[in-house]
Every structure is written in structure tokens, then in C-alpha cells.
């Protein structure tokens, strides 16, 4: 424990340096805007900002991108509460009771509760990250290729299971993502696959054009088609103070949301989205007056907002401890530090304590910055929402072109972004989730390499995947989840995901 505190003190020495404070502040401001504006979620926002971090140190890049991530979680609540427009998907649940509170003249209090909940959850989850990641990394040092293969396979299956919806659709998207990740040179032999002779594709598809296309461009197409002028009511500063009863009612949901969000964050999936849905469902079930939900229950704001912020930090546990992304956003952030020559994995914390502990400390700082940004300055941010979307989206598209081109100075990436935008639009219309596709694409090279290395080590015997205890346990979990999904599909029974509103009822 003393060692942890000592390391944290070193982290604060780094995070409180003026330049890192400035990057954390910039990330939080950009993130808040990204969270507020429809058509620019955290994934597209982080992807677009990636080229701007090339000139920074890996610590600065990570601090700024993380600021964007959890800043978007804070910012998303503003539009949800004041306008009933979720700036990003994790704020969908906040719309329900947050907007109802606004209609009752309690919008300011809802914003304050959301910001306080986010601050508490964000801070508690960083403590969790700080305590959990180092021992997990120490344990994972013993992992060989077989364990990594099983871990990546189970990660994809958990993602498909947790995301709700149809398991075959999720697995199809994961398979498609893995195939996209295999475009280009084979990791072991250098053999070119699916390139169609294009030399630009020999290095594979870049994560940035794929993420910006699937999440950003498709969202812009959908939003631009239904763009309408919106009226925003700006709450007065004194309205931001919640009543004693509202604060008391929020304590439990904030505490539960913090723990729940962190735990869901560690599990692969779009954790920040899932956690807010699960938290809302749990608060409604625990409430003695569930009929208030939907008409302005403060618990319906406090729980989901705390959960999505906590999940954002939880998602960093597998990323920093194992070097394995638990979802598309950590995947892009891993790409960001790899560009700087930092090798992610269990040795990261031991080899580069400056990055890990500087990052942890910056998250404490970032949460304070966001609390300040999102309470007294909320009026300033609301002005951005007054810009009509028909002016805003051409500017966002311009950013997309610059951001995607700048990664590798290649127009091929812009074509990939266009194709992915088209694909993402079709997927959203037809009920397919893009997250497994992106995650599959990112982990494909690591999965293929560890799979073939495992077979090389075992002399071609597949028993290696079940002979090693950790690998066997992970595969057993994958089989159980698949079996559960098959059972639900065959019996048409409602499972826990439906009870919590995660899955469409048939």
C-alpha cells in the first residue's frame, strides 16, 4: 500500500507539471464538447484527435485522450438533460428522467447531480484502477501465447454476449472485424492478403479511418437527415443547487453506479453504454416508488451518470494491465501509445511507471477539472448547442477529412472512411452493432500471432489451449456464454439482459 502511495505521489509530480495540466484541461474541454455534440461520440472524437498527439510524449498523448474520453461522459449528460438529445450513446438513459426534471424546472439540479455523481464515480473508479491494475499485470506476466489467444477469444464472446441483441449478429460482426484486421501482410510470413494489389493496404486497415467512418460519418448522416433547430434553456446558477432530498436520494445510486460501472468497465464491451443501462434498471428495481422513473426521478440521473464515468476508468484496467483493449475506445488509445514506441502489456507498469502513474494522477486532476467545467461553466458550453446542426456537421466532416488524412498522409484512408461510413449507416439502420467489428479488427493481428505461436510451441497440438489452467478457464467461460446464448435463443426465454432493458424484447 505504501509503495502504491509512493508511486501515486510520483504520478502527481508528473501530472501537476504545467504542460500535463494543460493537456488534461484541453482533453477535458474537447471531451465535453464531443460528448455534447451529436455526431461526434468519444470514439470518433479520440480517433480524430489522434494525429494531433503525434508530436506529444506518450504520457501527454494518453492524458489528453483519456480527458476526451471521460470528458465526453460528462458532456453527454448536458444535452440529455436539457434537450433530450443524447450527445453520445451512454447518455441515453439520462434523457428519460433528466429531461423530465428539466420540464419540471429542476434541470439545473439534474445537471449538478450528474456532475457530482460523475465526479464521485470517476474518482472512486480511479482508486479501483490504481489498486487492481498493478497486481493484475504482475499475474499476467506469466501469460504465454495460449493464454493470450483464449483471453482474446473470450473477450470477443463476452463483448457479443454483454452487448445484448442477437448473438449470431454480434459474432458475425466480430468475425467480419477479425477479417478486416487480417487485410494486409500476414504477421508471420509477410504474405499479402485481401489487398487487391493495392500497396497502400499492405500495412492493413488503419483503426482511425475505420472508427471515424463507422461511428462518426454514419452518425452524421443519420443526424443531418433529421437536423432541426433546437431551443435550449440555459439554467441559472442558483438553479444548479440540488435540494437536500435530491442529494439524499442520489447517494445510494451514485455509490452503486460507481461500483457497478467499474466492474462492467473491466469486462469487454461498450462498457460505458451497458453500465448506464444496467444502472438505470437496477435503480428502478430497487426503488420503493418505481412509478416515478420516467417522470423525473433523480435516481435515474445519478445512477447511470455515475456508472458510465466509472466504466470509462474500469475499461483502462485490461488496457493498462494486460495490453488488451476491452472495447473500441481503449483500442484506439492503445494505438496512440504504440505510435510512440511504447509496447503495451503486463510489463508496461514496471517498465514505464511514468506513463502509468502519471496517467492515474492526471485522472484525479481531470475529474476536478470536469467538475469545474460542468457546473459553473455549463452556460458557456450550452452556447455551442445553439449552432444549428446544418452549419456544424460540415465543420465536423472537415475535421474528419483532416484527422483521417493526417494519420498516414494517405487518401486511401479517406476512401476507407467513406466505405466504413456507408457500412456503418447500413448497420445502424438494420440493427447491427459496430463495436464488435472494431474490436475484432484491432485484436486480429495479436490473436492470429498468439494462436499460431501457441501451435508452434506445442508442436501443432491444440491441447495447449486446455492444458494450461488459465487458458482452459477462459475457454470454459466462453463455452458457457455461448451455451447460455444458444439456450436463450432456443427457448425464447427472457434473461437478465432483457430484465435490465439491454436487449430488445422479441
Amino acid at each position: 500500500m505504501l509503495e502504491t502511495l509512493g508511486s501515486l505521489a510520483t504520478g502527481f509530480e508528473i501530472a501537476l507539471q504545467p504542460q500535463f495540466l494543460a493537456y488534461a484541461f484541453a482533453g477535458c474541454v474537447i471531451g465535453t464538447l464531443v460528448g455534447m455534440l451529436p455526431g461526434l461520440g468519444p470514439l470518433a472524437g479520440i480517433s480524430l484527435l489522434l494525429p494531433g498527439t503525434f508530436g506529444l510524449s506518450p504520457t501527454a498523448a494518453l492524458i489528453m485522450l483519456a480527458g476526451v474520453y471521460y470528458g465526453a461522459m460528462y458532456g453527454g449528460s448536458t444535452t440529455s438533460i436539457l434537450m433530450r438529445i443524447p450527445g453520445e450513446a451512454a447518455s441515453v438513459m439520462t434523457c428519460i428522467d433528466g429531461y423530465a426534471m428539466t420540464q419540471k424546472g429542476r434541470g439545473g439540479a439534474a445537471l449538478a447531480i450528474a456532475a457530482i455523481g460523475s465526479f464521485v464515480a470517476g474518482t472512486l473508479s480511479v482508486v479501483g484502477l490504481m489498486l487492481l491494475a498493478p497486481p493484475l499485470a504482475e499475474f499476467a506476466i506469466r501469460f504465454g501465447p495460449a493464454e493470450y489467444t483464449s483471453l482474446l477469444v473470450v473477450g470477443l464472446i463476452v463483448l457479443a454476449y454483454m452487448s445484448g441483441g442477437s448473438m449470431p449478429k454480434m459474432l458475425a460482426m466480430a468475425a467480419l472485424g477479425l477479417l478486416c484486421g487480417m487485410i494486409g501482410m500476414d504477421v508471420m510470413t509477410g504474405y499479402a492478403r485481401f489487398t487487391g494489389g493495392a500497396t497502400e493496404l499492405r500495412d492493413g486497415l488503419g483503426i482511425v479511418p475505420v472508427a471515424v467512418g463507422l461511428f462518426g460519418i454514419s452518425e452524421i448522416i443519420l443526424s443531418a437527415a433529421k437536423a432541426r433547430e433546437v431551443s435550449v434553456r440555459q439554467p441559472k446558477l442558483r438553479e444548479l443547487v440540488p435540494t437536500g432530498a435530491e442529494l439524499k436520494a442520489s447517494v445510494g445510486p451514485i455509490a452503486r453506479g460507481s461500483v457497478l460501472g467499474f466492474l462492467i468497465g473491466i469486462i469487454p464491451g461498450s462498457a460505458h453504454i451497458i453500465s448506464s443501462f444496467v444502472s438505470y434498471g437496477i435503480e428502478r428495481r430497487l426503488s420503493k416508488t418505481p412509478e416515478r422513473f420516467g417522470s423525473g426521478a433523480v435516481e435515474g440521473v445519478a445512477g447511470p451518470e455515475s456508472a458510465n464515468n466509472s466504466a470509462a476508468s474500469g475499461a483502462f484496467v485490461p488496457m493498462l494491465a494486460l495490453g488488451v483493449p476491452s472495447g473500441p475506445i481503449p483500442a484506439v488509445m492503445l494505438a496512440a501509445i504504440m505510435i510512440h514506441g511504447v509496447i503495451p502489456g503486463p510489463l508496461l507498469i514496471a517498465d514505464r511507471p511514468d506513463i502509468f502513474w502519471g496517467f492515474i494522477a492526471s485522472m484525479y486532476v481531470g475529474n476536478v477539472v470536469l467538475l469545474i467545467l460542468n457546473l459553473p461553466l455549463v452556460g458557456l458550453f450550452i452556447q455551442v448547442l445553439r449552432i444549428p446542426y446544418r452549419y456544424l456537421y460540415p465543420l465536423i466532416l472537415t475535421l474528419c477529412v483532416i484527422g483521417v488524412y493526417a494519420v498516414s498522409q494517405s487518401v486511401v484512408d479517406i476512401w476507407i472512411m467513406i466505405a466504413m461510413g456507408f457500412l456503418g449507416y447500413g448497420m445502424r439502420k438494420l440493427g447491427y452493432e459496430p463495436a464488435p467489428l472494431v474490436l475484432g479488427m484491432v485484436i486480429a493481428p495479436l490473436l492470429e500471432l498468439s494462436f499460431r505461436q501457441s501451435l508452434a510451441l506445442s508442436g501443432g497440438s491444440y491441447a495447449i489451449f486446455v492444458a494450461r489452467p488459465v487458458s482452459a478457464a477462459l475457454l470454459a467461460l466462453a463455452v458457457v456464454l455461448l451455451a447460455l446464448s444458444v439456450r436463450i435463443a432456443l427457448t425464447q426465454r427472457a434473461d437478465w439482459r432483457q430484465h435490465l432493458g439491454l436487449e430488445e424484447r422479441a
Binding site: 494531433g52 477479417l179 460519418i217 437527415a225 452549419y391 440493427g431 501451435l455
Partner: protein, 164 residues
């Protein structure tokens, strides 16, 4: 996610006929899976004990085909497939056409001209904003963003045939 209402649970199977979303997408995925598997089969497959570069893509192509078939097989409960649901697709195509222009022009015309034309197109043609506003915004954004990215953030931006 935008979904049309699905068939009611109590609807008799006969009333659930016609083309449905999951029939179309499942069949498309199954076909894509088969094509990918066929393409991967052309690469060195190796053996079960020593997989080659084509091994995993082949297996994943087959898996994609199977998942596509499963989606199509269970598609009776999915929403009816209607082209009207894609009525916003025309605006989407207009947006993608602008991006396609950017891809074609960026390295030929250079950053500033390409972005200026792109904004004129989106604001003036697609959104029919007043020309004065469109023109002012176009000039400010094309030159301002170049200054921000190329000068301040030192992001390398393309220079076209006109030398800027």
C-alpha cells in the same frame, strides 16, 4: 438504433411472410463469408498443426457464412425490409459524395482549395444556406484550420499543383 417495428409475437407465421431485414442481411453475410473463404483458399492454407496465412481467414469466412445463415434462418421475427426506411440515404449519398471529392482532390488541389470547395458544397448546395454566410464561413474555416493544423499543431497537410 433505428428499427422498424417487428412482427408482433402473437402474429401467425403466415402473416409474417415477405422480405425481412434479417433475411436480406443474413444472406448478404453468408454470401460474403463464402466469397472470403473462397479467396482465402487461394492463399497457402498450411495444415491444422501448422496453419498458413490462409488458415484463419478461411475459417473466419466459413464462420461468417454460418452466422449469416443463422441470422437469415431466424429472420422471421425481424422487421419487414422496406426501402422507405432509407429515405435519408439520399442526403447521406450527398454527404459521401463530398467526402469522395475530398479524397480525389486533396493531393491534387491542395488542402485549402479542397476544404473551401467542400464547405461551399455542403453549406451552399446540400444545406442551401445564404451565400454570404457560406462564403464567409468557407474562407474562415479553410484558412483558419490550415493555420491551426499546419502551423500550430504541425500536422503535415497536402500541397496541390498550385503550390499551396
Amino acid at each position: 438504433m433505428e428499427r422498424a417495428p417487428s412482427a408482433a409475437p402473437g402474429t401467425p407465421p403466415s402473416a409474417r411472410g415477405g422480405l425481412r431485414d434479417d433475411y436480406v442481411t443474413g444472406a448478404a453475410l453468408a454470401l460474403a463469408g463464402m466469397l472470403i473463404a473462397w479467396q482465402a483458399w487461394q492463399y497457402p492454407i498450411g495444415s491444422l498443426a501448422e496453419p498458413g496465412p490462409g488458415y484463419l481467414p478461411f475459417a473466419l469466412g466459413i464462420a461468417l457464412g454460418v452466422f449469416g445463415a443463422l441470422i437469415a434462418a431466424g429472420g422471421g421475427r425481424s422487421p419487414a425490409f422496406r426501402w422507405e426506411r432509407f429515405s435519408d440515404g439520399l442526403k447521406g449519398l450527398a454527404i459521401l459524395a463530398g467526402l469522395a471529392f475530398a479524397a480525389l482532390a486533396l493531393e491534387r488541389l491542395g488542402y485549402r482549395i479542397t476544404i473551401a470547395v467542400l464547405l461551399l458544397y455542403y453549406l451552399g448546395v446540400v444545406e442551401r444556406r445564404p451565400w454570404i454566410t457560406t462564403f464567409v464561413l468557407t474562407v474562415v474555416v479553410a484558412l483558419g484550420s490550415h493555420y491551426l493544423f499546419a502551423r500550430l499543431l504541425r500536422v503535415p497537410l497536402p500541397i496541390g499543383m498550385f503550390g499551396f
